[in-house]
Symmetry: C2
Subunit: 369 residues, 2 copies
């Protein structure tokens, strides 16, 4: 059963207002997806995320595989049920964490051997294994197992990395075709099942990116992601890579740029035709006291906010800005209180989700107008 | 303006179902008061506390004096406004923390010199200063400055400590009479103002406790607390001290036992005629993974819960038990996730508040039946 993606409106610049009909949730696009690394969007309860309008969140395959284990989650009916998240969910392939958290990894054509960052135990991920773990987790969308090319990377290195990613994409696709219908909630959701997205890599080489996109499209995935961005490159390069790849992707399939970005970036990419984005930035920055607001970035730790009774963002209608002052948020941070991370994260997510809501409205009105 | 306390029902055993008419909230008693040490009940947002039915919470004078400072909070309109808590609030005198957090304190008849546990800076608290700080914080109820007698304490030590506590109670009362009407919200709440409670000390010596209670009653406080309990003594002694003191306190004034206790304790004391209790136990234990349930204590870290899909407490209707499993709470704890503390705390507070709600119902029906 192929993924239903309806484009409701399009702009001349390529922006699309769409609806992604996932088994657990019809997702209005373009959409920002909060990151729930270990089965929780850090510091925020599920009902609060619902209240903020989060439609789809991420789970991290690498982390959940190590703890509590995909088999345990599978036995408990999958990640949705385990964490009591009723809306849509996407799992990454585990590749990014295998590479970023493991200096001692060993990569072969078969897959990656690595040591757990938790206890040093040995593990290996192959495309087949990554898909197996993702089927057990049971997100609405799975990702093909890929190698995220580091930045900077020599051309030869990027080519070799891309060769692996494309071979692994094919194996991911084959394994998913054979086993992807085994998801725990299939019967409960009328026979619907998971989708699989391919990931375009190629470092910062436009021709490699194009080559990868074309090959992946031949493999016929349910959607296409652009990975390996926001890995340290200048933002012009990020934009260039996205601009190179987007026109090569099928118009009727969702397009997902992974791991970006700042508020103005997600807005820009959404207007270019990116349908889905995720990033740890709003949640991670929040825990460090960095708030994104309509007046720019606010470092809530700053002394200037010690007696500032204004809300974090005077133009924001989120539950935090409606109730609490900058002075209070600063105090919570200074005092090392847990509520600090919670309230800061709620605001930042509201800000990111609000941007996408506004962009969706504008994409509709520009088309209709 | 004296504190209005209405007794709605009484039992033969001395239990009272009452209503305490505080400026910010009519508080149904007996009541359990969650502790909000640094202007936050750790890990739980104010709207969640409201949803749980918390009527009155504590603030810690010592902590708030040091950070962010009572003068700053006073300039911002008081602690209610600072932390956006609309219901009732009580501040302790700072005495307990001065003694428990400061090995190098110096006690004289005048007051206590101590060093900040944050930066080692020198400070002193006198009864007058404690009341001044509490007027700036602006809780509905202030506490007289006292010395909490340690356990065990020789009789001579308990007598000397009691002498200080009684002298300081008198000075607290006098300073409050002169300055207690200066609270920031007085005009906004129709001229209503703060109340002041005295604290019965005396160690574990029944005659000293009785002597203290009698003297404090002569001083005419708005309510009376029994302090210096749950400091390491056996529970029989705690009970004995409460039983000695309660009959000496005016029936028409609220009675508050400070810093207790386990679920069965707060129920027992409420049935004996204690109107108010506070304790860090439900919130602190929660952060260490200890849940109080109708089936007894659950250490959610235990491996036996790894795949336990039951709610923390099958008979509990709190937002956590309605939505999450023991397996998920265990995972959050194992993974060191902030949501662990939040969800565990919400359940434990719901459990404590639920006990008091049930006891209030029973006190009413036993009287009427």
């Amino acid at each position: 059963m192929s993924l239903a993606f309806e484009i409701l409106a399009e702009t001349a610049a390529g922006g699309r207002r769409g609806r992604l009909d996932l088994p657990h949730q019809a997702v209005e696009t373009p959409v920002f997806m909060p990151v729930g690394t270990q089965g929780t969007v850090k510091a925020v309860a599920q009902d609060v995320l619902e209240g903020l309008g989060a439609q789809i969140i991420l789970g991290n395959t690498y982390h959940l595989y190590l703890r509590p284990g995909h088999e345990a989650i599978g036995r408990m009916g999958g990640l949705h049920k385990f964490m009591s998240w009723r809306r849509a969910m996407l799992t990454d392939s585990g590749g990014f964490q295998v590479f970023s958290l493991n200096a001692l990894r060993k990569v072969t054509d078969e897959g990656v051997q690595f040591r757990s960052h938790l206890d040093g135990s040995s593990h290996s991920f192959t495309p087949e294994h990554s898909i197996g773990v993702q089927v057990a987790l049971g997100a609405d969308i799975c990702m093909a197992f890929d190698e995220c090319t580091e930045y900077p990377a020599e051309r030869a290195r990027a080519e070799e990395s891309l060769r692996l990613t494309m071979a692994w994409a094919r194996r991911s696709r084959e394994h998913f075709r054979a086993h992807g219908e085994n998801v725990a909630w299939r019967e409960g959701l009328g026979g619907r099942t998971q989708s699989l997205f391919g990931i375009v890599q190629g470092g910062m080489y436009a021709d490699l990116r194009r080559q990868c996109a074309e090959r992946l499209v031949e493999m016929d995935f349910d959607g296409y992601a652009i990975g390996g961005l926001s890995v340290g490159e200048p933002r012009e390069l990020t934009l260039e890579m996205i601009a190179e790849v987007l026109p090569l992707l099928p118009k009727d399939k969702p397009r997902y740029v992974m791991g970006v970005g700042y508020p103005d970036e997600i807005e820009q990419y959404a207007r270019m035709g990116v349908d889905m984005m995720d990033c740890v930035l709003p949640t991670r920055a929040a825990r460090h006291g960095l708030l994104f607001t309509s007046e720019g970035r606010v470092n809530i730790k700053n002394k200037q906010y010690a007696e500032d009774q204004n809300p974090p963002d005077p133009r924001c209608d989120c539950p935090v800005c409606r109730r609490y002052s900058r002075a209070y948020l600063r105090h919570l941070m200074q005092a090392g209180e847990a509520l600090s991370g919670t309230l800061n994260t709620i605001h930042n997510l509201a800000y990111y989700l609000g941007i996408m809501e506004r962009v969706r409205g504008e994409l509709e009105s520009r088309t209709n107008g």
